[in-house]
Symmetry: C2
Subunit: 201 residues, 2 copies
């Protein structure tokens, strides 16, 4: 079998370990990188190293950040009485893009999943309880984990954990997505939509 | 619009410039890179930089290599009487994988394409003529450019250029691919297959 020269071979091998990038795509990307301008190629290399070096998790909320505490935790303009609990930093980005929510976040970095032997102690949940105990201005926790079995279980667990403190725990609504079609909506979503119906005011 | 922290934003932007990688995929890759082990992430960064630094074109054949002349040009076991002319280093890899061809290569780095204002002087063709003049052991040049309009034109041009030297110039066969189906083969390929028919011996 013909082998590419070592440095190229190594680049292809490293690229093919990225998710969704197979051997052929890795080859194509590697050849593209070799044909890029020096600045662009070294820029990519450096961006990877510096993202890895400079990005960390916020010690307060667990979100990805380059300063600690993160920009959201540090923002004096945000409503400190509401904390939205999400699974991952990507969920924070999704909610922020909506520009409606003005509270704070708490990133769990996972969900409780006994099948993968991930228990409550393996996610960033204890830190949430500490945070609630130390900040008595919080009066609502919105649990915005994904509507999967694990997400629901985590939401239930968090609600039970927070319950005794008297803080209100809410769950985001599940239902038919806007622009969706009742005919093509699955039964469980439809059941949630009907169960969660609200009076038209 | 919520912006990711600078280093992450920059990484996403750089990744999204790669071919076939859009904004969403770039985000997914960036988050994956952040979640990788330090060694793996820095390894990827380094592989890009070192491939870009160490890889160059062979001064003899134009193939991608980390040593000059390249491993194939340097290999004493190869048949120096045959040179196979290809468009790109990827074509060299494809032919080498077949393990049948034992001659040398010449990489053009492109094809003549007046539409893209690429003329004969923009590809590595002059170097081929010099090479043929300096090595009188060569007695056959196989033109293995792709069977496209530009590839054919380049093959014709190369044949005319080499013709006066008396060296035999051949073209790879075009026809129905092995495992292919006559019914679904386009007319031009079929015409080539019939035109290029050989006696069964």
């Amino acid at each position: 079998m013909y082998n590419y020269p070592k440095p190229l071979e190594k680049l292809i091998e490293k690229l093919s370990r990225l998710p969704g990038i197979g051997g052929k795509t890795a080859q194509r990307l590697a050849f593209h990188i070799l044909s890029m301008k020096d600045d662009d190629a070294y820029g990519l290399s450096e961006a990877i190293a510096s993202a890895k070096k400079d990005m960390r998790y916020c010690s307060v909320c667990g979100n990805l950040t380059d300063v600690d505490p993160c920009g959201i935790c540090n923002d004096a303009g945000r409503d400190r009485s509401v904390i939205c609990v999400v699974e991952s930093p990507r969920d924070v980005a999704a909610i922020e893009r909506m520009r409606e929510f003005k509270g704070l976040y708490h990133v769990l970095h996972g969900v409780i999943s006994p099948m993968d032997s991930i228990g409550p102690e393996d996610i960033n949940l204890a830190q949430l309880i500490v945070r609630l105990r130390e900040n008595d201005e919080v009066n609502e926790v919105i649990v915005a984990t994904n509507p999967t079995v694990e997400g629901e279980a985590t939401a239930m667990y968090a609600a039970r954990l927070i319950g005794p403190s008297g803080i209100k725990v809410t769950r985001i609504a599940h239902g038919v997505p806007v622009g969706g079609d009742l005919e093509y909506t699955d039964e469980i979503t439809l059941a949630k939509a009907i169960g969660g119906r609200r009076e038209i005011s």
